[in-house]
């Protein structure tokens, strides 16, 4: 039997969460004696597909028809369902990305399979099959028991490590039969938010709030982010006032992220803001107010003026990077 992985690509390259999902599937397969098969829908070179072998996939099923160059949930779901049948897969691993969120639940409904979305660990037991995930926007964890024959897990981005597990890989091009009526969502335009790192996938996020006083002061935030190789984010009022684009707004009503490092600058730490970032591994708060709620959940804090502190941090990061 095999464990199936929905391996997403972007511009013909595997996305980072795809390697997380492959590693997750490989570690799970090791304990069950299965092998891992990656399904890649859309254009990718053979050299790129071979990289799946470096992360434990013994087989790659590649769908390379131009019809799949843009994303369509129904059609992609049918492909995954076909592959699940042909590979006799009882476990299917996704990453909880936007694309994963659009396909995994459809597949679950099609296969009558239980889905654990936003999983943060490997199953803690296989009989019963139990997987841990976050709930209440990071204010709790829950263990979900899946009782269906087929199980689907969508792993939270950044929750699982990436480890090289080199195996020999067999790449097959497949041509699943998908009715034209399944291509029922037409993509007219893809708007990429500059060439920068996607916020939901970023390992480091530098975020700033109303304490920055105005949009003209974001230069220092971007410089720190650039030095760290980080994505930038902001609080809700900052986006509402148009200081920053809305896609940067994190929190209860914005994007939920779980980077390895979240640096909050001039953000008070309101509960709705924390809901979007509390699963970050390490949190740093920089604030003039020593009573700012952010310090209650931060791992490291600096009580001070962002305008003084941030440029010094950027300098220190540059020095660190140049000495290594």
């Amino acid at each position: 039997m095999s464990i199936l992985v929905y391996a997403e690509t972007w511009d013909g390259k595997f996305k980072k969460p795809s390697f997380e999902a492959m590693t997750y599937a490989f570690e799970l397969a090791k304990s069950t004696g299965d092998s891992v098969t990656a399904v890649v829908i859309g254009p990718a070179s053979d050299d790129e597909l071979k990289r799946a072998g470096e992360y434990g996939c013994a087989k790659v099923l590649h769908v390379n028809d131009a019809k799949y160059n843009t994303f369509c949930p129904s059609a992609f779901t049918t492909v995954m369902a076909d592959c699940a049948t042909s590979e006799n897969a009882k476990t299917i691993v996704f990453s909880q990305t936007y694309s994963g969120k659009s396909v995994a639940p459809r597949l679950a409904a099609k296969l009558k399979a239980g889905l654990v979305s936003g999983a943060i660990a490997l199953p803690s037991s296989s009989q019963p099959f139990v997987v841990r995930k976050k709930c209440f926007s990071g204010k709790g964890f829950t263990d979900v028991e899946v009782s269906s024959d087929i199980k689907i897990i969508a792993v939270s981005p950044n929750a699982h490590h990436i480890a090289p597990n080199s195996v020999s890989v067999n790449i097959q091009v497949i041509t699943p039969v998908v009715a034209d009526s399944q291509f029922n969502v037409k993509v007219n335009e893809v708007k990429k938010t500059s060439g920068k790192i996607a916020l939901t996938e970023a390992e480091i996020v530098v975020s700033a709030g109303r304490g920055m006083k105005g949009p003209e002061n974001w230069g220092m935030i971007e410089e720190l982010a650039d030095a760290l190789g980080a994505a930038t984010a902001c609080s809700k009022p900052v986006a509402d006032m148009g200081w920053r684009p809305h896609h940067e707004h994190v929190g209860q009503t914005g994007i939920t992220i779980a980077p390895n490092l979240y640096i909050a600058i001039g953000i008070s730490g309101a509960i709705q803001h924390l809901a979007g970032i509390s699963s970050s591994k390490v949190i740093v708060a920089i604030n003039t107010d020593k009573e700012a709620p952010f310090f209650k959940i931060a791992d490291y804090g600096i009580i001070g003026d962002a305008f003084q502190v941030v440029p010094k941090l950027t300098e220190a990061v540059k020095q660190l990077k140049s000495s290594h």
Binding site: W10, F71, P73, S74, Q96, Y98, S99, S102, P105, R106, A109, K112, A113, G114, L115, S117, V130, C135, S137, G138, K139, G140, F141, T142, D143, V144, E145, V146, S147, S148, N184, V185, K186, N188, E189, V190, K191, T193, A198, E201, I204, H247, T253, L261, I271, A275, S278, V282, A285, K296, A298, D299, Y300, I302, G304, K312, L313, E315, A316, V317
Partner: protein, 245 residues
């Protein structure tokens, strides 16, 4: 046009989340419940479309009788009628299947819901409803405009946005920006009391998963303070102690 809006009943965003001592359930004592914020945005957009071109807006919830005040709130905001499927919403597949069973015969033009419910953060139900109804799905949409028998939507993707078009009928899940929620007025609140709320029994056809245990996150250790005079020490600690840069 006929619109259906799926609403879930969730703890208010500021609730302190605790679990029962046996760790088996969420502790609801003293908790204020609200319409899931994304569902409220979905409801508002459905009402705007109805006002622009006529039609009806029905809200649906899978829940026990305790959810009725939340359903009445949706009626007060402006929905025409409501359906409650009388069951504990245990698992997304179960909830979606029950909603789809009710929706199947009604030929809704658009089935709306939220991106995710803020309690279990599943991000599953709407997309499952779409598959059960064999309809197109657009998840995490920030804009929706209807032009005749088709619609144009903007949705979030990793690292950007996508503009898509789709023919009616379809299923959409709302993300922030979809619409600005409305506060119900006195007339709305009064009329909500008498609007139809139909209770139907579940078919209990599917059950695939259940939350069996809960845990609060481990208490954070004390925040380590670094002097504003020497911010470079923070960078050193992130490098040597936290080992993340």
């Amino acid at each position: 046009m006929k619109f259906l809006v799926c609403i879930s009943h969730v703890p208010d965003t500021t609730t302190r989340i605790t679990f029962t001592p046996d760790g088996k359930a969420f502790n609801t004592a003293g908790v204020q419940f609200i319409i899931n914020p994304y569902d409220e945005m979905a409801l508002t957009r459905a009402l705007e479309l109805k006002e622009a071109q006529g039609g009806t807006v029905t809200v649906i919830n899978v829940g026990l009788a305790v959810t009725e005040p939340t359903i009445r709130k949706a009626l007060a905001i402006g929905a025409d009628d409501a359906i409650r499927i009388n069951a504990e919403p245990i698992d997304a597949l179960f909830v979606a299947n029950e909603i789809a069973n009710v929706a199947k015969n009604e030929k809704y033009d658009i089935v709306f819901g939220g991106r995710e419910s803020i309690d279990y953060n599943g991000c599953q139900v709407m997309t499952m409803v779409a598959e059960f109804l064999e309809l197109p799905s657009v998840a995490i949409a920030t804009k929706l405009d209807v032009n005749g028998t088709s619609a144009t939507l903007e949705r979030e993707i990793d690292g950007g946005k996508e503009i898509v078009s789709v023919n009616l009928p379809f299923v959409v899940s709302a993300q922030k920006d979809f619409a600005e929620p409305r506060i119900p007025n006195m007339r709305g609140i009064m009329s909500a009391r008498t609007k139809p709320l139909k209770v139907v029994e579940p078919t209990n056809a599917i059950k695939a998963s259940a939350s069996v245990a809960f845990q609060s996150p481990p208490a954070k250790s004390e925040c380590k303070m670094i002097s504003a005079e020497h911010p470079e020490e923070l960078i050193q600690l992130l490098h040597t102690e936290a080992k993340i840069i």
